[in-house]
Every structure is written in structure tokens, then in C-alpha cells.
């Protein structure tokens, strides 16, 4: 039987960004190209929070695409990042998720590297009794760790492999940068950390987080308890490149009269429900702008969220064409009072793999992965809600933010 050519060979559907060829969600060839062009390309990738590595020598592990990364603070207090791979024979250099070291020493042959990635020691460098060892002319300076270019803003750490990646502020544009400054405006304190194994391609997750269409439909808890409805004031924003997005809602502006939410006209809405303990949704106005829900993505794989007072970072790590891991970091601020911490902690019930408003996401992205198997030819998904626009709108009844992701993807991938 003839092999069906993938989207790499046949190109993107002629309709453009309103169609997404299913090949991109399960092709091994495309997955490999993503590693090279996207994750090693001109993109800023989330690496962690500065408050996770406060002191010199502190480090944590992460990934850019599938590449293992060490993020650390050097002796001068600057953040550094390297590929977590010994420059000798390629072993993982660090294998604990976090710690503090003066030198990173490989367990395999005791090659050691300083906090700037320089090779500082080689076991039996001069041999034993004048025999063996490394050649006299072996140049340690050429055998440091592979460095990742790092930038920080508001306590966030990003890394890129490419010299072509513009400065973060230029990469994001002023509006997206402004929203980062809004939430990351003072020292952070981590409140929780967990991960979510997803049995689907990573891009299905990025479509999902950028999709305001599904939020109040799939997540019945959201709409049923009035946390987010399309009748509330909000916006779906894209930067000029359309790579990054923000969707926000202002809950106080809800008026469902005459809409499909009223009288349960929308099949999924259950407006007769009430909580036995309404303190689950206790809150305070965290920001002056009245925004109660905000989801922001920085292309390609990180999401910042404000669900009332539950603040968090969701970092997506691709694991293969049909598997991904979402690493969650929930946080508050160092200056939070106890009652604020308790509210954030309680609202954390809404998010994550057990989240009252997000539990379904792990199911539905897997449903897509399962349903696209056995397809005929070059079938594609339809991303045409709100037309074919790829621009900001003052409503959230649109998939423009999803199309923006695919614009960034095609820009970088050459598809």
C-alpha cells in the first residue's frame, strides 16, 4: 500500500489558518522537525521562576522541547541555563530535580563544570604514573556545557537556543509584556507543584488553552456557577505577530438575559446548581482592572493563568507525537497574608488534573488524539469560529487566538 504523504510533503491546506491538518498531531517526522525548528529555533521557552533558585548554586531541571535543561544561579547571582548533558560522553549531569551545587560533577567519569558551564575538572586528567590520561593539548575551554541564552522578567526565566530570537520584550510586544508585568509584579512564593501526563500531542493542549469558545461549554462548572460566560465583558487579544495570546473575563459584567445561557437553553448549562459550601469560591479583587479570569500564553508552550486568585504557570513539555506533560506551578506572593494564602489554596480546587473547571481538558484533548486515527487522506480540523481573522477582539466568541497559534507554528516550521 502506498504511504500517504504527510503535511510536510503536501503543504498546509489551501484554506490557510482556518484548517489544521491532523498530520501535525501524530506525525513523527513533524515532531522531529519541531525539535529542530521550533524548540531550537527563534522562540523563548519557559524555564522556571527565579524564586525556585534564590541562592548561588541553586538549580532546577526543566526541558526545552525534549532537551533536558539545567537552570541555575551562578556565583554572581545571575541565572544561567545549560543542556543537562555531560560534555564528555553525554550522561545526564544532574539527576535530582533540584538542589544546590558549587560544581556540577558527572557521576559517570567525574568531569566537573562550574556554574557558568565551564569544564573545570577531568578525573585522571594527567593519567596515572605518567600513563594514560587526556592528551596534553586537550582544550578544556572548548568542552564546556552547551549554553542556553537566558532572559528574565518579573521573576520568570526564559531560555532560547537561537541567536536570532529577539529580546523578550520585542518577542512579546508591549501589550503581552504589560500583562506579564501585571501579574509578575513582586516577589513570588511557590504554593504547589505537580504534573499532568497527557496522552495526546502537545499542540492539542496549546489549542485548548487558547480556545475561549470551549471554556463555558465543556467546563460546566465554569458556566453553571457563573465563573465565566460569554455574556461577561472580556477580550481575546493577540500581539502583532499573533504568536502570543490573552483571553480575559470580567465577571462583574455578566448579563445572561436573552442569551443561550438563560433558562438552560445551552444544553450543558445547569444554572439550578448551588454549592453547599460557597466559601470554595471566596475571593478578593486582586487587580484593579476588574479582570477575574485571565489566560495568557507565550509561544510556544507556556501559559500564565489567573483564575480569580488562583495564580499559576502551566508549562507544557512534549514527550512524543502523542504524549505530553503539563508541569504546573501554583504561586502567590511573598507578601500574601494568611487569609489570602488560604483563598488561593482553596481556589486551587478549580485547576489542575483534578480541577473542577479543568479536569475535562485532559479527557477532551485525548479524545481528539484517538479520533484522528485511521483517517482518510488529508483531513483537517475546522478553526473558523469568528471567520478567518487573526486579530484581537473585544469578545471571546472566536477562535482567532487558536489561529494565532497556528500562524506562529507555520512561521517557524516552514509549513
Amino acid at each position: 500500500m502506498d504511504r500517504k504523504p504527510s503535511a510536510i510533503e503536501t503543504g498546509w491546506p489551501e484554506e490557510g489558518l482556518t484548517r489544521v491538518p491532523y498530520d501535525v498531531f501524530d506525525s513523527g517526522e513533524i515532531f522531529e522537525r519541531e525539535q529542530e525548528r521550533l524548540f531550537r529555533g527563534p522562540t523563548w521557552n519557559y524555564l522556571g521562576l527565579e524564586c525556585e533558585i534564590p541562592r548561588p548554586g541553586d538549580y532546577k531541571l526543566n526541558f526545552i522541547g525534549t532537551t533536558p535543561i539545567i537552570v541555575c544561579r551562578n556565583g554572581e547571582g545571575e541565572v544561567r541555563a545549560f543542556v543537562n548533558r555531560c560534555a564528555h560522553r553525554g550522561s545526564l549531569l544532574c539527576f535530582r530535580n533540584r538542589g544546590n551545587e558549587k560544581l556540577f560533577t558527572c557521576v559517570y567519569h567525574n568531569w566537573s563544570f562550574d556554574l557558568d558551564g565551564n569544564l573545570k575538572g577531568i578525573a585522571f586528567r594527567r593519567g596515572v604514573n605518567g600513563q594514560g590520561g587526556m592528551p596534553e593539548d586537550f582544550d578544556e575551554e572548548k568542552h564546556g556545557l552547551e549554553a542556553v541564552r537566558v532572559t528574565t522578567r518579573g521573576g520568570l526565566v526564559f531560555g532560547t537556543f537561537s541567536d536570532d530570537t529577539p529580546d523578550l520584550e520585542e518577542y512579546l510586544g508591549p501589550q503581552m509584556t504589560g500583562f506579564i508585568d501585571r501579574m509578575f509584579n513582586r516577589p513570588l512564593r511557590v504554593m504547589g507543584h505537580y504534573s499532568h501526563r497527557l496522552r495526546n500531542n502537545w499542540k492539542l493542549v496549546m489549542e485548548n488553552v487558547r480556545d475561549p469558545y470551549h471554556a463555558s461549554i465543556l467546563h460546566l462548572f465554569f458556566g453553571s456557577f457563573g465563573l465565566s460566560r460569554h455574556t461577561m465583558e472580556g477580550a481575546a487579544l493577540l500581539d502583532d505577530s499573533a504568536w502570543h495570546h490573552i483571553v480575559y473575563t470580567k465577571r462583574a459584567t455578566d448579563d445572561i438575559s436573552g442569551s443561550e445561557y438563560e433558562d438552560g437553553k445551552l444544553k450543558s448549562m445547569k444554572s439550578n446548581l448551588s454549592l453547599a459550601d460557597p466559601t470554595l469560591l471566596d475571593e478578593w479583587q486582586e487587580f484593579d482592572d476588574g479582570i477575574t479570569n485571565m489566560v495568557q500564553t507565550v509561544f510556544p508552550t507556556v501559559t500564565f493563568q489567573q483564575i480569580t486568585n488562583c495564580l499559576g504557570v502551566r508549562h507544557l513539555v512534549p514527550k512524543g507525537p502523542d504524549e505530553a506533560e503539563m508541569i504546573w506551578t501554583l504561586f502567590g506572593y511573598e507578601d500574601d497574608e494568611d487569609w489570602q494564602r488560604e483563598i488561593r489554596r482553596t481556589q486551587a480546587n478549580l485547576v489542575g488534573p483534578a480541577g473542577l473547571i479543568s479536569l475535562e481538558d485532559g479527557a477532551v484533548t485525548n479524545f481528539v488524539q484517538r479520533a484522528i486515527r485511521g483517517r482518510e487522506g488529508h483531513e483537517a480540523s475546522v478553526v473558523e469560529f469568528g471567520g478567518d481573522a487573526v486579530e484581537s477582539s473585544e469578545n471571546r466568541v472566536t477562535e482567532a487566538t487558536v489561529r494565532g497559534f497556528w500562524k506562529g507554528y507555520r512561521d517557524v516550521m516552514g509549513l
Binding site: 504554593m191 499532568h196 488534573p353
Partner: protein, 157 residues
């Protein structure tokens, strides 16, 4: 109560608790707790670091009821079943009115297509009261050895 009696009552409570969840009788699950209670599911890594936030955090019986309401009315997931194996209970502290106990747990999850696997392994850190006759949990902290959840965590552990 002597220690044998306490151990027996704690183990019986765990057996009934596991049966309630594994048989899908979620409506009965809050009844294993006192009105003022804490129920939390948190990873061991977060627990040891002193983090506040985990997967589940309920601080009243009514919040447990709201979890059940959400499971029944607003949460969407494929049919699945848990099977709890609880054992190795250690009574850490005990008196006439209450005790603290720690038990091991393993939960096997079976999905409707037949796929099954160990979904969670960890420990119950329980504070149990005997005051109302029937033992009830004042606090139950489920500490999961893994920080990772496969696909979704719907029903309680």
C-alpha cells in the same frame, strides 16, 4: 479502648471507606468525615516542601459534598473504576477520643476499554475521632508518591 480495639476500628473504617469509593457510592463518601474536617490530596514532594496546594483541598464536609455534586453534574470524563488496596496501618498516637494513623494505599484504575494500571500509590495520614460512636475522619491527607497524574483525577482517593 485497648490498642487492639483501636487498630480494629481504624482498619474497619478504612475498609468501609475504600468500599464506598470503589463501588461508586460517592454520595456516602462525605459521611466518613466530621462536619469540620480537612481532606487533601497532595504529592509527597509538595507535602515535604510545605506547599499548601495539591490536587484536592476540602476544609468542610460541605466541600466534600460539592466535589460529589461536581462529579455528578458538571464533570465530564470516561467511565472508570478505582480499586483501593489499603494496608500497613500504623497507629501513631491514640486515646479514648481520637487517634492518628498512617496507612499505605495503592489505587488501581480500570478504564472502560479494559486498560488498567496503578493510578496512585502513597499514604493516608489520618486523624480519626471516636466521639460520635462511629469513627470519623477529622483530617485525611492523601500523600501521593508521584507528583504526576495520568490524564485526570476525578473521584476521591
Amino acid at each position: 479502648m485497648d490498642t487492639v480495639d483501636i487498630r480494629h476500628r481504624v482498619e474497619q473504617l478504612q475498609i468501609d471507606y475504600a468500599y464506598c469509593i470503589d463501588s461508586g457510592h460517592f454520595e456516602d463518601w462525605p459521611e466518613f468525615f466530621t462536619d469540620e474536617c480537612v481532606y487533601q490530596i497532595i504529592s509527597r514532594d509538595s507535602y515535604e516542601q510545605g506547599h499548601e496546594s495539591g490536587f484536592y483541598y476540602c476544609r468542610s464536609k460541605n466541600m466534600l459534598r460539592d466535589r460529589v455534586l461536581a462529579l455528578r453534574e458538571t464533570t465530564i470524563y470516561e467511565p472508570q473504576r478505582y480499586r483501593h488496596i489499603i494496608g500497613g496501618t500504623r497507629i501513631l498516637e491514640s486515646g479514648e477520643r481520637r487517634c492518628r494513623a498512617e496507612s499505605n494505599l495503592i489505587v488501581v484504575r480500570t478504564l472502560q476499554a479494559g486498560e488498567m494500571g496503578i493510578f496512585a500509590a502513597g499514604a493516608y495520614l489520618d486523624t480519626i475521632t471516636f466521639e460520635s460512636g462511629t469513627p470519623k475522619f477529622i483530617e485525611k491527607v492523601v500523600v501521593t508518591d508521584s507528583s504526576q497524574i495520568d490524564m485526570l483525577l476525578a473521584g476521591p482517593l
